[in-house]
């Protein structure tokens, strides 16, 4: 893994520079780039993945 053949300090500095670059890129990107998880998705989550299974369990109890 890390720092075996390469000078540890050089690698660390490169890693930190790369971190700053990536943080800048991801922070600048809008949410839309990753697709919206909108109200319809929340309805699916609450109804299909939570309410229906729990009601099924309650009904069979």
């Amino acid at each position: 893994m890390r720092g075996a053949s390469m000078a540890g300090q050089e690698f660390k500095e490169a890693l930190q520079a790369e971190l700053h670059r990536r943080v800048g890129v991801l922070s600048a990107e809008g949410d839309a780039a990753f697709g919206h998880f909108d109200e319809r998705d929340w309805a699916v989550v609450v109804v299909l993945f939570l309410a229906v299974p729990i009601l099924l369990i309650w009904w069979l109890a």
Partner: protein, 480 residues
């Protein structure tokens, strides 16, 4: 930057902690469905189904396992999947926004226990599988004493050797193992339903139920929830490598929730038919000697593969601890594997506690999932300052109080206390309310509500970064 340096930084992004950029991500809906299914078809499904067969029949078992897995994975995944996907974050890094820079190490301990516990259990299962292949029910050999201990030790050494060689070996291995397990599952269902009707299966009594019908039902639901919550450590690893929010979430629920619940039912049915909950025993009974031996050998390989993956991620997780941050990978893995040796010394005892360990996962991850959900959606409105996650500066957003968000830590402790008050998984002792509420539901919901109230009262933009600007800030002390 040299080519070697670039390659190593790219590796740090894929398997380390650097945030993963959108164009670097490998999974779409289809590929995550495929990978999630490979995760779901795991041998512990056979164990979990067997645990349910002890308490409930086929109808209630199917309902509780499928519903429990879906609800458990949904609650585990909703915050972690969306946040890790949006910010390209590794899962423990994401928990820093809720528990603090140092508080996240508490979660790391649970994460590590989960990986070590499941690894140990399935390595023992592998040893028992091999014994059944070689022993009187298989090839008829007479096996010496302590065979289980020796085989578990051999399995640990093989798993270590695989992890040391890197994750690429595992990818090749899994390309063979996963299709094999899918075939075994299909053959198991075929063998069961070709010989037994559904009405016959539905009429079979559980193996060793308690006198309380409602308690049996709640226990089986708790096993399903525990199975779902057990996936919490793996959610972020997949989500950060996926292209969109929806693709990061739905496939995980459909595969590691719904599909896993269905696969667990093979263990349930086999347990009910043959009155044993251990798959290393009932495999021989379901499809005959040769099918059983082939299936057990595949399980042996699959379990070594799965435990290698878990120990690999455990090793990566340990990199969050400053002591291990710059340690040589091979030495770090030796340290990571040491607790697994307990399963070499006490294989039978710890294997029999697998049921308790399953529900222990719900104990650990139910409150964590609930708190992350409140913190990320209700309090932060899905806004995180990415730069501050990598900052150990004393005034940084996620430093809270001395590196800990004590409000979250206290609510986490409260969640555990509620869980253990309602249900003691080691001694299988349940409070009367457990029969109606389970333990996971109150251990999730009550800390969520209290945490919301406390956070509104005691945190701010300066302490916790709630409502603060999310533009990158300078970092004096990088914690990478």
């Amino acid at each position: 930057m040299s080519g070697e340096l670039q390659a190593r930084i790219r590796e740090e992004a894929v398997v380390g902690r650097l945030p993963l950029l959108r164009e670097e991500r490998e999974y779409s809906m289809r590929s995550l469905m495929s990978t999630g299914f490979a995760y779901a078809v795991a041998t512990w499904c056979f164990l979990i189904g067997g645990y349910s067969a002890k308490y409930v029949g086929a109808v209630q078992g199917v309902a509780t396992l499928v519903a429990g897995c879906v609800v458990g994975v949904t609650l585990s995944a909703i915050a972690a999947a969306l946040a890790c996907n949006r910010y390209g974050l590794e899962q423990i890094d994401f928990t820093k926004t809720c528990f603090g820079q140092r508080g996240a190490r508490l979660i790391l301990i649970f994460y590590y226990i989960n990986q070590v516990g499941w690894s140990g259990i399935i390595l023992v299962m592998s040893a028992l599988a091999l014994q059944n292949v070689l022993g009187p029910e298989g090839l008829g050999w007479t096996l010496p004493a302590h065979t289980t201990n020796i085989v578990v030790l051999a399995n640990v050494i093989i798993a270590y050797a695989i992890v040391v060689r890197g994750v690429h070996v595992l990818n090749v291995w899994n390309a063979v193992v996963t299709p094999g397990l899918v075939i075994v599952c299909a053959l198991l269902f075929y063998a069961i339903f070709s010989q037994h009707s559904w009405s016959h299966l539905a009429s079979l009594p559980p193996i060793e139920p308690t006198d309380d019908r409602l308690l049996n039902y709640a226990l089986s639901f708790e096993f399903g929830l525990g199975a779902g919550f057990s996936w919490w450590p793996g959610i972020g690893f997949l989500a950060r490598n996926t292209d969109t929010q929806r693709n990061a979430f739905y496939p995980q629920v459909l595969t590691m929730g719904l599909a896993m619940g269905v696969i667990c039912c093979s263990g349930l049915f086999a347990g009910l038919l043959f009155k044993v909950d251990d798959p290393s025993r009932w495999m021989m009974m379901v499809g005959g000697k040769w099918f059983g031996m082939a299936a057990l050998l595949l399980i042996l390989i699959a379990n070594i593969s799965a435990s290698s993956i878990m120990m690999y991620t455990a090793g990566l997780g340990m990199r969050h601890v400053p002591l291990f941050r710059d340690m040589h990978w091979n030495l770090l893995l030796v340290i990571a594997f040491v607790p697994v040796l307990a399963y070499v010394v006490w294989p039978d005892l710890l294997y029999q506690k697998g049921q308790a360990f399953l529900t222990y996962n719900a104990t650990m991850y139910a409150p964590i999932s609930g708190l992350l959900l409140v913190d990320y959606f209700w309090l932060r409105k899905q806004r995180v300052n990415l730069s501050q996650i990598f900052s150990d500066d004393r005034g940084s957003h996620y430093w809270f109080w001395g590196g800990f968000n004590w409000l979250a830590v206290i609510c986490l402790g409260l969640g555990y206390a509620i869980y253990l008050y309602l249900y003691d998984p080691v001694n299988v002792v349940a409070h009367d309310w457990f029969r109606w509420l389970t333990a996971s539901a109150p251990a999730t919901v009550i800390p969520m509500l209290i945490y919301f109230g406390l956070s509104r009262a005691f945190t701010s933009a300066e302490r916790g970064g709630y409502g603060a600007d999310t533009a990158p800030l300078p970092i004096a002390r990088v914690n990478l």
